[in-house]
């Protein structure tokens, strides 16, 4: 039996979403075609758009379908930067945080080679944006800021960001705010209209939906420069033939996940607390990274990020994997090569500490027995990994 503790990477598909997708897979019809089959496909897409809009408290016209989180982030950041700078060439600054996902950081670094001045405002030891430093950075010269992008909740350590305060500060100067809410959807209450953000990234596979489909919620009045040029299928800012089965599955997953969010958050927080307490009972020197306070203003309910001093994270991962327990070192991988997490480093961790951490992330299929299996396995695994680290250090 696999103990799956990596829901932040991807989630098992919900049966409702799989059923909605498979019901569509055998049907023909390009949603842009004018005949009956095309209209049927279009109707399905628009009903899905409305369902997502209802779930996330946005207007249907604000939902732009994309291929997922990475594309939504790229579209929001590059699209906003280019259009805002075109309106006023002084707008070259982008304010963000050093703990964003690579789907945000890499477009920012790329834009920096295109004339953008990227400022990553520091975070505290819990991984939360320093809002005073953010205010100071923005207000030092608000006219030069093209946009702000701050994630809703961090994917590695689960810390919830002060997005409402960011919006308040930015909007006082008419600056648009994008947020990557990929991890938050389904785990925290999200209300696009009430949040005040101008653009929000969400994706299907983190909420029990299919891979390869996501959306950028973006206010109608906001101008975005397109990344993909072609048929202009999505509001003329995103081209490419629309994928009705994937969109249908995504919409159903979104409705189910949002409908069950409160119940799931409560269940996950209880399991997560049991996981952290159990692991720390077995490994007393394990350190709980991120914000220790529970609650939707503090931490994702399904996230447990633990540091095991003296261990290499990838040894721990391998030993747990051999016992059927699947988790993550929570760091970006390139050809599977582990790197020290940029998130932990930004939180003030040393490279060595950053490399001795594991992320356990719970989701809709998690059970108490998953937690028990981990707690039972962890002590001997940590001991072994410690010996291995010692053997590497010894010459």
């Amino acid at each position: 039996m696999t103990v799956y503790l990596d829901h932040a990477a991807t989630t098992p598909i919900l049966p409702e979403a799989a059923a909605a997708m498979t019901a569509q897979l055998g049907r023909v019809g390009n949603a842009s075609s004018l005949h009956a089959s095309g209209r049927d496909a279009r109707r399905l897409v628009e009903e899905s758009r409305e369902a997502i809009a209802r779930s996330l408290r946005s207007r249907p016209g604000e939902v732009v379908f994309t291929s997922g989180g990475t594309e939504s982030d790229n579209l929001a950041i590059k699209g906003l930067f280019w259009s805002r700078r075109a309106e006023d060439p002084r707008r070259v600054r982008i304010l963000s945080t050093p703990i964003e996902h690579h789907a945000v950081l890499d477009p920012l670094m790329w834009l920096a080679t295109e004339g953008a001045k990227v400022e990553l405002v520091e975070v505290d030891r819990l991984g939360r944006l320093d809002i005073d430093a953010f205010r100071a950075a923005l207000e030092s010269d608000p006219d030069s800021v093209a946009l702000v992008t701050v994630m809703w909740a961090n994917n590695e350590v689960g810390t919830v960001q002060p997005v409402h305060e960011v919006v308040e500060i930015a909007h006082a100067h008419g600056i648009p705010v994008h947020t990557d809410a990929v991890q938050a959807l389904g785990q925290l209450p999200l209300d696009f209209a009430a949040s005040g953000v101008d653009a929000m990234t969400v994706t299907g596979h983190k909420i029990g939906g299919p891979y390869g489909v996501g959306a950028l919620l973006v206010r109608r009045e906001l101008q975005l420069t397109a990344l993909l040029h072609g048929g202009g299928q999505e509001r003329d800012i995103r081209s490419g033939t629309i994928d009705p089965p994937a969109i249908a599955g995504f919409a159903v997953a979104c409705e189910v996940a949002v409908g069950r969010q409160l119940e799931l958050a409560e269940k996950l927080a209880t399991l997560r607390d049991a996981l952290v307490a159990g692991v720390r009972r077995e490994v007393p020197d394990a350190i709980y990274n991120g914000d220790p306070e529970p609650g939707s203003e503090h931490r994702l309910p399904g996230n447990a990020h633990l540091e095991f001093p003296g261990c290499e994270g990838d040894s721990l991962l391998m030993l747990l994997d051999a016992r059927g327990i699947e988790c993550s070192t929570g760091s970006a991988c390139d050809a599977g090569v582990p790197q020290a997490s940029h998130v932990l480093l930004a939180m003030g961790s040393t490279e060595e500490c950053a490399r001795s951490s594991l992320r356990f992330s719970l989701g809709h299929t998690s059970t108490r027995s998953d937690v028990d299996a981990l707690v039972e396995a962890i002590a001997p695994v940590v001991e072994r990994a410690r010996n291995a680290a010692l053997s590497l250090r010894a010459r």
């Binding site: 390139d334 582990p338 072994r384 291995a388 053997s391």
Partner: protein
């Protein structure tokens, strides 16, 4: 038995892993990420210069049906192999980085970590054979296929390392390994063999050394055996003993015959050249001996054969040891031998041990070079 298969992404290590998996071992595949290649957008990110090799290894592991991970040993590799390679060249010696990697990385860093993580042995695709001798010790012998024999680069392994190693290809020829890879559906069956030093991606060792060592040694004189200056050069690390091409000496030798590098003196940067017969060596001093089994007792004369470079020929020799030094008398003289190279001692097909050459003794010449 739980074994860790080191998979380079090549055909040999893939077939080695497949064979032990088929024999019923509990096999886990790993690919060693040995070099750091900072990417443009991710400052400080660790990539691997051989992402394609890592993918090939991963696909082989999929076909074999074993778990697969990448281990980042780039820091250890850089310290123990790359920096050692550079400092050896800077000192005028000619090191073999593959031997060093086997000694320090594959059969120390990886093996120690594997044992600590609960594995019993490391499996590689090296061509060498392990047998248990009459005394119960593990013996390492040359591969059945002499053209692929890699016992020379494994000559640094000790009994404890050999006892935790498996070389499943030692009795097989390369062509059979390729056929077997194809039969097993391994996509690397036709992948070309690697020849170059893995951390010098374009194969231009001289150019790479020039980049890395430009601050160390700016040049010096090229002289003949009498000390007469024949020309100038731009860094002694551009030369290896026995080298003939690229000397760029204006004046020809009096007898018109080609000249070879005989000696490199790194402190003054002096490179000595002379006729081919001056390269002939009939004795060696060596340090840092490593014995595969029982150490040779001091004072005992061992009649044996020695190999002085990878894929080099065998020379009959007599070897003795005293403390940490090894002295080798060559019955069959050798040519173009440089300090820093390894001497591997064989008793028939069995590897006795190895040491690092520190000085060579010229046949019929008092000129001896020492780079201890």
């Amino acid at each position: 038995m739980r074994v860790l298969a080191a998979m380079s992404g090549g055909v040999d290590s893939a077939v080695a892993a497949a064979r032990v998996a088929e024999q019923g071992y509990d096999v886990t595949g790993i690919h060693l990420a040995l070099s750091r290649n900072p990417r443009s957008y991710r400052t400080g990110a660790r990539g691997c210069c051989t992402i394609e090799d890592a993918n090939d290894a991963r696909r082989a592991a999929d076909v074999i049906g074993i778990p697969f991970y990448v281990w980042d040993l780039s820091e250890r590799f850089h310290e123990d192999v790359v920096e050692d390679f550079l400092s050896e060249y800077a000192e005028g010696r000619t090191p073999n980085p593959c031997l060093r990697c086997n000694e320090k990385i594959k059969f120390t860093a990886v093996l120690d970590r594997a044992i600590a993580l609960g594995f019993d042995a490391v499996v590689t695709g090296h061509y060498a054979q392990l047998r248990t001798g009459d005394d119960g010790l593990i013996e390492m012998h040359r591969a059945e296929d002499m053209s692929k024999d890699q016992s020379y680069v494994l000559g640094v392994l000790t009994q404890d390392q050999l006892a935790h190693s498996l070389f499943p290809l030692g009795d097989t020829s390369k062509s059979v390994v390729r056929e077997e890879a194809a039969r097993r559906g391994l996509a690397v069956a036709a992948k070309p063999d690697s020849h170059d030093i893995c951390f010098i991606s374009d194969g231009d060792t001289g150019g790479w050394l020039a980049d890395q060592l430009s601050d160390v040694n700016h040049g010096g004189s090229i002289v003949d055996a009498d000390g007469e200056e024949l020309g100038k050069h731009e860094g002694s690390w551009r030369y290896t003993i026995g080298q003939r091409r690229g000397l760029r000496i204006g004046t020809p030798a009096e007898d018109g015959r080609p000249r070879y590098v005989l000696d490199i003196e790194p402190v003054s940067g002096t490179v000595t050249v002379g006729p081919r017969e001056s390269l002939s060596v009939d004795g060696l001093s060596a340090i840092r001996p490593r014995w595969c089994g029982t150490a040779l007792s001091p004072g005992v004369l061992l009649e044996c054969t020695v190999q002085l470079r990878a894929h080099g020929e065998e020379h009959r020799a007599v070897v003795t040891t005293a403390r940490d030094a090894v002295s080798v008398t060559l019955i069959d003289p050798a040519s173009g031998i440089a300090p820093g190279q390894a001497v591997v001692v064989y008793d028939g097909s069995r590897v006795v041990g190895s040491a690092t050459i520190s000085a060579t003794h010229r046949a019929g010449s008092p000129l001896a070079q020492a780079r201890g």
